[in-house]
């Protein structure tokens, strides 16, 4: 299967239209790993249609949050002398796929004539990579939040040490026991210490 899809003749040309370079890289990597070698990423939305016509892809993948989806609608105009693409949402027989792609936030346009069984694995891959990107972003957000919380705790510790003459360890234990007693997070207690010290300045 892998060898078959690697052959130049049968590896479809895939264009990724995405302004997020990280997400596009994740998707591109996934496609290449699966043997789809002919992948082009477009990140610049100006003259988008001219670039797509120039590349003449078999499949176009675009994120649903990209306003340029409307630009792609021009490809469906009858007078255009290019290969006619069809939109992914046209095949409503596969409701589960449509739901999965909307949830993941990805949409695809496929040149008419490409067989359904060849498109399905590509779309599934796009959906799973888009989901992987969302997960990564959530993790990044969480890490960022955790870092910020640590900064707040460190500053609150400093205030307690100075005002109450505590060691670092004692200051931390005091915040932790207060948090447990008040059923709050230690970050929240630290934030209240910072707020209070601002007010009392």
């Amino acid at each position: 299967m892998r060898e078959w899809s690697m052959s130049a003749e049968s590896s479809p040309k895939i264009v990724i239209v995405d302004e997020s370079p990280i997400r596009a890289a994740i998707l591109e990597e996934g496609l290449r790993e699966a043997g789809y070698t002919d992948v082009v990423h477009i990140s610049e939305m100006q003259s988008l249609l001219a670039r797509i016509y120039g590349l003449d892809p078999d499949i176009i993948v675009i994120d649903l949050e990209n306003p340029s989806r409307d630009v792609l609608e021009q490809m469906f105009q009858v007078s255009r002398a290019v290969r006619r693409p069809i939109a992914m949402f046209v095949d409503q027989s596969d409701a589960a796929s449509i739901q999965a792609s909307v949830d993941a936030g990805v949409s695809a346009y496929i040149v008419d004539g490409l067989k359904k069984e060849r498109i399905k694995p590509i779309l599934d891959l796009c959906v799973s990579r888009f989901n992987a990107f969302s997960k990564l972003q959530d993790e990044l957000d969480r890490t960022k939040h955790a870092l910020e919380e640590r900064k707040v705790i460190d500053r609150a510790k400093g205030i307690l040490m100075k005002m109450k003459g505590l060691t670092e360890e004692e200051a931390y234990v005091l915040m932790r026991s207060t948090a447990m007693r008040e059923k709050k997070k230690i970050g929240e207690i630290a934030q209240s210490i910072l707020t209070a010290s601002e007010l009392l300045k």
Binding site: S68, V71, E73, V78, V90
Partner: protein, 385 residues
């Protein structure tokens, strides 16, 4: 009365009735629990309505008709029982094109025939000097903006497919594209024309009301199957929208309306720009020149909200004129059946007013009973009898 409803919209001033119906509590008074979902493209709005992720949507009137006829995309029967707005678009041109047009103009600068002929002369001059053809931005292949631009320029002798380039641009990109010379002009709804003028990079050449007296713009679109199944919900939704439209049209409510629409999760632009649009009092040139028109945007005034099947027929005629659809009498009938004054009247319990004629500045008065005869009167177009 019903489960929660999800309604998609694009952040434009003509989503006003929809947004005010929800944010001012008119929908809740009717027992409706509505969540508004802001979208980034008409394709998204159309697709999410089609596959049932939205129960209703703020939609370009021609997209509703194209969906119903299966033009360019999957065929999904649509019911449009409420006009969210009439008119509201404008044609904005770059300072360079504006200067070129004013140099060529022979007549009143607000007369679309005079500007269209001036455009024809500018186009001819550019061709002679070997300059690139002018590029015009519009929002969607099946859009009022596309047809209004084409109608205007063709009247003065410019063939929109041969003499200039028309390109689809998402509204948020319009202003940047005009600033960096990617397009020379565009036709778009509020607030984008005013934003270009405020930035000093555009002149509003025409309000759409100069070109067409009354032109349906956005409709509240429902899947026909859903609408048939939930007549009470539809009636409640329409009553809420009508109350919102009436509220918006009261001049003393305008500051409050502009404030509601300006919220970041709604339209997200300055309230003063929105109010100028609603009041029909627009700055049209970077030097501060103002222009007023009571017909700039109509939300519910003059029976504007009641769907008029003749408007649907006019839009279908434009699709035929520009080669997007073949002429078929049964397709014309189907297009007209998208617009549902019957649902509107049923919700209100009465029938109101007579619709204004379309009132185009060029060509014969539109007759929905003779679309081929009407189209035969226009020299430029892709359709031939």
């Amino acid at each position: 009365m019903t489960g929660p409803l999800r309604i998609g919209f694009i952040p434009l001033v003509d989503a006003a009735a929809l947004i005010v119906a929800v944010d001012k509590g008119f929908a809740a008074t009717e027992g409706l629990d509505v969540t508004l979902v802001r979208e980034v493209s008409w394709s998204n709005v159309r697709d999410k309505l089609n596959i049932g992720l939205f129960d209703a949507a703020h939609l370009l009137a021609p997209v509703a008709i194209a969906s119903h006829l299966g033009l360019g995309h999957v065929k999904v029967p649509i019911a449009a029982p409420f006009n969210l707005g009439l008119n509201g678009n404008a044609i904005t041109v770059s300072p360079a094109l504006h200067a070129a047009l004013m140099e060529e103009i022979d007549g009143d600068r607000f007369d679309p025939m005079a500007t269209s002929r001036a455009l024809s002369r500018v186009v001819a001059k550019r061709r002679k000097s070997g300059a690139e053809p002018l590029t015009f931005g519009m929002t969607f292949p099946f859009s009022t903006h596309n047809y209004q631009l084409r109608f205007w320029m063709a009247a003065g002798g410019v063939d929109p497919d041969e003499d200039v380039q028309l390109v689809v641009l998402p509204p948020p990109y319009m202003v940047d594209s005009l600033a960096n010379g990617h397009v020379d002009a565009f036709c778009v709804g509020a607030p984008w024309n005013s934003i270009a003028v405020d930035l000093g990079i555009g002149h509003i050449l025409h309000f759409v009301a100069d070109i067409l007296l009354s032109a349906v713009e956005k409709v509240l679109a429902l899947r026909q199957s859903w609408s048939d199944k939930h007549p009470d919900v539809v009636a409640a939704l329409l009553r809420a929208h009508l109350r919102a439209a009436e509220f918006i049209e009261e001049p003393e409510n305008r500051p409050e309306v502009a404030h509601i629409l300006a919220q970041p999760e709604r339209i997200g632009v300055d309230a003063s720009v929105i109010q100028r649009t609603l009041d029909g009092r627009l700055k049209i040139a970077p030097d501060g020149t103002m222009r007023e028109s009571r017909r700039y945007l109509l939300v519910g005034r003059e029976a504007a909200a009641r769907p008029d099947p003749a408007q649907a027929a006019w839009l279908y005629a434009q699709m035929v004129r520009w080669g997007q659809a073949p002429f078929r009498p049964e397709a014309l009938k189907a297009a007209m059946a998208v617009f549902r004054p019957d649902l509107y009247d049923a919700a209100l319990g009465r029938s109101v007013g007579t619709p204004n004629p379309i009132g185009a500045f060029a060509g014969p008065a539109f007759d929905p009973n003779d679309v081929p005869g009407h189209l035969a009167a226009f020299k430029i177009g892709r359709w031939r009898p």
